[in-house]
Amino acid sequence: MSADVIDKSLETFVLNLGPQHPATHGVLRVKLTMDGEYIVHAEPVLGYIHRMHEKMGENRTWAQFMPNTGRLDYLAALSYNHGYAMAAERAEGIEVPERAEYIRCITVELNRIASHLLWFGAFVLDLGGFTPLLYAFDDREQILDLLESVTGARLTFCYFRFGGVYNDIDDNFITGTREFIKRLRSRMPMYHDLVTNNIILIKRLKGIGPISQEMCRRYGATGPVLRGSGVNFDVRKHEPYSVYPEFDFDIPVYTDCDSMARYMVRMDEMEQSMRIIEQGLDKLPEGPVMAAKAPKILKPAKGDYYCAVEAARGSFGIRLVSDGTNTPYRLKLRSPTFSNLSLFAEACQGMLLPDALALMGTLDLVIPEIDR
Amino acid sequence: MMLFLSSQLNTYLIIGAFLFACGIYGLLQHRSLIGMLISGELVLSGASVNMMAFNRFLAPDPTVGQIFTLFIMGIAAAEAAIALSIIIAVYRNYKTIDAEDLQDLQG
């Protein structure tokens, strides 16, 4: 893996992709050793926006860390809120009321659609198509409006609390969400006609950037990257949490292992999320949104706890080590794109630069989550 | 006076000779293969200018010089293509385009 395995006889040069580059979506730097336009060796350089969230966690109370989780992956903040809330609830043994669980699932899925829509736009932008980005943003803004009306924020929601959610949803939100789903359903064929079926896009994605199952296993890739390689693994089904078992939804899996497969997985996931939201709204029970007995100050028993959720980019895991005090002793954040990006170096070897960028686009990187 | 220059055969002949001489000088003085190729192109265009001048001022057939020049262009293009692919092949194998470093080619 190190630079000295490169064949010295090749006429290569080093290309710095980033830290400021239009395709790296943030401050990721990839040191590429190139032979012409072919990539001989790639070395991602991380840490440009490393903030040491894990240390922050050790210095804050359990509740105070909640806002931080939304700042890891700011595009799917609710999944991260959810993961952290669940981990702490598991440690403390708090039962969450059913209505709160439904609200959590609905909002998380909305957030997932928003994240995928943004990914869709940004990915097509990486491929040089600008307009789909704006269409996707148009839809995404509707979601953010909905979520803002409930949570009070547009990105870093910080909506969940140990034992429930911060605010109950109202009828405006429910009707708004139903309308939005109707709207997005009618827009999906447009996206497919404009982008998915476009011959230029198909030529750019079909067979490009293969990631084998074996590679996924070695690198621990999860999420759409893994499902694009034909593995039916989704924490929501595999390790059912919250009220996901109540919902009837499918896990889109494509077996082509290429960029197109990963693209299709995400597009189909949006449809599945819409199904979940619809069912959630139908089944939404009445009741409180906060556990009655939820303690204000958490002091979980000694021991360590692991909890994983399916975030928009893969399996987000959180490992808590408690020493029985009101601050976590150790708090490990397992971010999916960290693992997904780590396979980039191997996957892009021998690829052309534009293809590698297409591959990088399908990894759906959110740098703050990688750097933490 | 100015018009005089452009309608004088000698102007063109001297320019042609100049290009030709530049080419010769460059061929002798350049060590890199690409430099030599450039000089070669100059030699060829010196000849072309002469052809065109004779065509305009002397030749009995008004097209022969032009056709010669067109052929020279064809030859030059072919020459450039071949020479460049040779240069690239040489560079790939020897990592140099310096003619004097290419002693290996002898024998």
Binding site: R90, G220, R319, R334 | -
Partner: protein, 179 residues
């Protein structure tokens, strides 16, 4: 892949004389297991079919194996052979015990089975063999752990800082590190 087989395979690697049993192991018949850190015979554990199996709903994982540092790579290999994938590697600084614990989280695609491998190393000179040869993804996780805890993963190809600045010589997640 049966859970039992994995247990069997890992049991042989587990630290032979002591096994940390979770506090919340189902009470009977191992009532004595209640006490944390109480040494239990491996054989006995296997026989009782409750080998370091914490309560999943409470802990979030199924197997919790403590191995010695030399056995980390072997257990990783066993897990790879059973098609586990690596979720993360991290450390925990047990400053009072003067030890650093390295925790490996594994998961499986098709069976619900999370396995945690732990090993402890001396805090003054933390060294664990690398598993980056077995799990390529471990490369970055180990680099990260090296950044944060200063753990040297012997055999790792490149332990230069991943998330910290290139010239960082501090390890922020150690408990005695104050910014």
């Amino acid at each position: 892949m049966g859970l039992a087989k994995i247990k069997q395979a890992l049991a042989e690697l587990a630290v032979t004389e002591t096994i940390e049993v979770s506090k919340t192991v189902p009470a009977p018949p191992a009532a004595e297991g209640e006490e944390q850190g109480k040494p239990v015979e491996v054989k006995e554990m296997i026989e009782q079919n409750m080998l370091f199996t914490p309560e999943y709903a409470k802990k979030g994982y199924h197997l919790d194996v403590k191995v010695t540092a030399e056995n980390v790579a072997r257990s990783a290999k066993i897990l790879l052979d059973h098609e586990f994938f690596l979720e993360s590697i991290t450390g925990v600084d047990w400053i009072k015990e003067n030890q650093i614990e390295i925790v490996y989280d594994f998961n499986h695609w098709h069976t619900l089975c999370r396995v945690v491998i732990r090993t402890r190393t001396d805090r003054a000179n933390p060294e664990v063999p690398t598993i980056s040869e077995i799990y390529s993804g471990a490369n970055w996780h180990e680099r990260e752990t090296h950044d944060f805890f200063g753990v040297t993963f012997t055999g790792h190809p490149d332990l230069s800082p991943l998330l910290l600045p290139e010239d960082a010589d501090y390890h922020p997640l150690l408990k005695d590190f104050k910014a």
